[in-house]
Symmetry: C2
Subunit: 195 residues, 2 copies
Amino acid sequence: MAYHHGDLRRALLQGALELLGEGGPSALTLRGAARRAGVSPAAPYRHFTDKRELLAAVAEEGFLALDRHAEEEIERAGADPVQRFRCHGLAYVRFAIDHPAHYRVMFGPEIPDKRLYAALDAASRAAYDRLRDSLRACQQAGVIPEGDIEIRAVRAWALVHGLASLFIDGQLAGTGASEREEFLKMVDTIFSASS
Amino acid sequence: MAYHHGDLRRALLQGALELLGEGGPSALTLRGAARRAGVSPAAPYRHFTDKRELLAAVAEEGFLALDRHAEEEIERAGADPVQRFRCHGLAYVRFAIDHPAHYRVMFGPEIPDKRLYAALDAASRAAYDRLRDSLRACQQAGVIPEGDIEIRAVRAWALVHGLASLFIDGQLAGTGASEREEFLKMVDTIFSASS
DNA sequence: ACCTGAACACCGTTCAAGT
DNA sequence: ACCTGAACACCGTTCAAGT
């Protein structure tokens, strides 16, 4: 067991991510993660003060992955700031619908006050900052009207987050966007038109 | 005990709503609701097949309350369709931030497939349909461009849902909209500009 | 310093039994 | 027809004890 060398924390996080992927948020238990790591139910408490701290680590990992995905997609989009912003929005939504359980933990109520977890807060902010930067690039290129960048960034974030959430929660049945591909086409239409 | 007369279902729903209001989603337990109603832990199973069915009833109640609130607010707004639509959006967000726990159950992952619960599905659809009708009234008055009403309605819904969710989850700290009143002002600005 | 074993107070759910 | 009592397999969490 390599866990006696100090990487039990990593093993628990890994196990938690596996449980989440296999059975959704309700399958993500502290005891289950301990089982996966081959330790007793009490062992995690040497590395996390409680379950919320494990969830915060899982959420942090999610924001890092989301940000990495967004970065890759906007690089692939080329140099045009409008195209980059458009792909950024699509990348955000695609990440959410491809990892619905992880996305839910990132925004869910199980972590009540996210400002208490500095690393999570930083990761979350970095993802938002990148979206705002994509928008600012459009503004500096003169292709969208001037105005408060913060308000425009919040609108863009709310839009992609709202679209992704409604789709994940199955609320879009009957709107002509209940299937993945139709939905992404609708996201493209809506997001591109609202910069 | 009047519960022997057939209203235990109502009493359990009432107890569930109280628990939700007092301690959030994690406090909403089947056993807790049974305790509030003065019955044994097994009694609820005569009225709900499992916990999810109780949650679906709670969520249904939430959509009905949301729709009632929206109806009242747009009536108070007068006859101008633009004003009515604006107040509709604000009413939606205000309901969410005033009843965050209830709002979370309405959209949360504890109810996996909402189409399985007909009454919940109908209540949810009614709330959406009213928002779409508010938007259609603007279109018929000629104050917003023509075009696919469904797409515009989904955009409006995603926007208010996204804004409300981000606020409830505490994700808007640092954007100048972390307090209730600043936030609602921002919602007004964003929503009015994106019909 | 890090982990185990055993315990506590909770869950959701089932099922025989009572009225 | 509706509810109880007791049980089962789970949780999160604590704490003395082991190495």
